[in-house]
Symmetry: C2
Subunit: 347 residues, 2 copies
DNA sequence: TTGTACGCGTTATCAT
DNA sequence: ATGATAACGCGTACAA
């Protein structure tokens, strides 16, 4: 009743296991007819080569691991879609790991991946500021390629796919300024994380360019928890009275919407909001949300392509590639000056 | 430079491989000190037991496969989050497969999973009406447990976790009727799929109860493509002039919003909309969207629990469990009678 | 408590 | 073109 193996199949056909094995590998010499005979019988007996035995022999798992902070974020979703396409085209399988921004989880996952479970790793790093990355260096020693996407560690030399966060952040801030904002808050989750830093820098430089003062208190450090963010943002909006806000992460824009509604702050009259976000229905929000939208799907696909290049060449030599894709700034109602009517649903 | 194996580690310690092996397995008798010594050295040499060799020995992969139609749907997202929690608690790894509603993909994935890659499978079936499910029967022969969630095949006897679709659909339709609708459209993607059928039946029965005629033309069969749906729905709204719509799937509600905007149909005055949806920001839409919200996270968690029960008992005997969780009907602006002001952001 | 020896299911090498 | 055999790395009877 249990799984049939190659020996039993061979016996049933009066052939040797080697011949049977060859029938499943494409390159080897084998008589067409016997191959047919074997495959037919295999189907009949519901035989398939044991994956683990093959991997043990070949030292290849045909599996890649994807480590992301979370799924409840349209950016990661779309990115995974993108890399899934590439991986499945190559016949690779995908293991998914969620860190929930916990550094310890990330270490645990990576350590679990030293043992051959995956041929390569694609990762968007955990949010917690981490000093110690030796667990990543060890990967290299084992010849397991690693590719970063979106969120990276600057001190690790690995191929990476990111978007032009600095420029986007700069442009978004400038857009707020040009829409008349003078007290612009920057809503961020992990200041220390590289991605937060880039976005922050763009924000600061745009202020500078337009001779607006940078005020530390207007940088609002949030958490991953909706309740907490609600409190933090309520407090901040009440006391600081910003007239513009740039959210470094989608969920902070969402939280802001709830807060504004409850506090009677109207968007965009009292407060203009723009956010890094891959939310597809941003046009349908009330008011429609201006966004900086990263090419998430494409980033995922490119990251996968990069990884497969490493896997296929087998070597991790050569210059480390760094692909930067451009985000789009889409202006909608949440940063508009006049009242709606037109362009409400700009897509 | 390559991965170190148990032999080398044993040699480095002047021990036998069996002793080393025991250090990594918890139950076996082994001297505490030697165990410590082994683990220390292992860490030092960056040794970890080879996953594939272990699996080959133990015939266990500590991996489960999750097959879903897509990720771009909040329901599946949250469900995956739920089952990830359970799986990672058990130390299991998760393989993800996306069918994009293609029957052939589903078959290919399932066939790929016969070979030991996963200890069990959790699946929400592909949308295409499939007649032939022998590929699933073959799984049973190999003792690979299967659990359905949300979307099931009725002719396959496997544990399942669903929500009370019929009742929800009935209640939603009734809600529309009570809000004054008389020409209620039912927007669906795959009429033939079991889940579509249940939701359709609830719709029909509610009409019946309230003495409204069931009209075939008001059942609008859509696709998975936004462009196509836009056309289909535009046409339907223009010619059929429904005053209410129940969307069996989130994306059809979204498409409807776009269509209504472009056609100048105002929600809820001209058309009231309610949708099966796990969209967390439904309250933020313009207007906020009334939803039937399934307990997605919980469904995922329960499905995983069910699967692990099968995996752990090893037997697939006993009655097939069928867990039904209740969805919530949340009334918001899109089905309201009066003008907004109050409750706009009901969460 | 530790070591020896075999087998898990496959594929690569070598021989026929 | 096909068959015999060893080896991949590990875990477990069994022996010591």
């Amino acid at each position: 009743m249990d799984a049939i193996n190659i020996k039993q199949l061979a016996k049933a056909l009066n052939l040797s296991t080697s011949t049977v094995s060859r029938a499943f590998r494409n390159n080897s010499d084998i008589n067409k007819e016997t191959k047919e005979r074997i495959l037919t019988k295999a189907r009949e007996l519901n035989y398939q080569p044991n994956h683990y035995a093959s991997n043990l022999r070949e030292k290849k798992s045909h599996t890649i691991a994807v480590i992301v902070p979370e799924l409840a974020n349209n950016f990661f979703l779309q990115a995974i879609n993108g890399l899934e396409r590439v991986a499945s085209e190559k016949g690779y399988h995908i293991l998914i790991y969620l860190t929930y921004d916990k550094y310890e989880k990330e270490i645990a996952f990576i350590n679990d991946l030293h043992n051959g479970r995956a041929d390569g790793i694609i990762m968007s790093v955990s949010g917690e500021s981490a000093k110690e990355h030796s667990y990543l260096h060890r990967l290299k020693n084992k010849n397991i390629p690693l590719v970063f996407f979106d969120r990276i560690y600057e001190d690790i030399d690995a191929p990476r796919v990111t978007s032009n966060d600095y420029e986007s952040s700069f442009a978004a801030t400038e857009h707020l300024i040009e829409s008349g904002c003078e007290r612009i808050a920057f809503l961020v989750i992990h200041k220390s994380l590289s991605i937060g830093k880039m976005r922050m820098q763009g924000y600061q430089d745009a202020l500078l360019k337009h001779h607006l003062p940078y005020q530390d208190e207007l940088v609002i450090d949030c958490s991953n928890n909706l309740e907490e963010n609600y409190k933090i943002l309520s407090q901040a909006f009440k006391t600081l009275r910003p007239d513009g806000a740039l959210a470094a992460v989608e969920r902070l824009a969402i939280a802001s919407y709830y807060v504004c509604h409850d506090l009677g702050i109207s968007i965009p009259q009292d407060l203009k909001i723009i956010s890094f976000s891959s939310l597809e229905i941003a046009p349908l929000l009330n008011p429609s949300l201006s966004t900086i939208t990263q090419p998430a799907y494409e980033m995922g696909a490119q990251a996968a392509a990069l990884l497969f290049r490493s896997i296929e060449t087998g070597s991790m030599e050569g210059p480390t590639e760094h692909i930067i894709l451009k985000s789009k700034l889409i202006k909608r109602q949440s940063t508009a000056n006049e009242s709606p009517v037109i362009n409400l649903f700009q897509r």
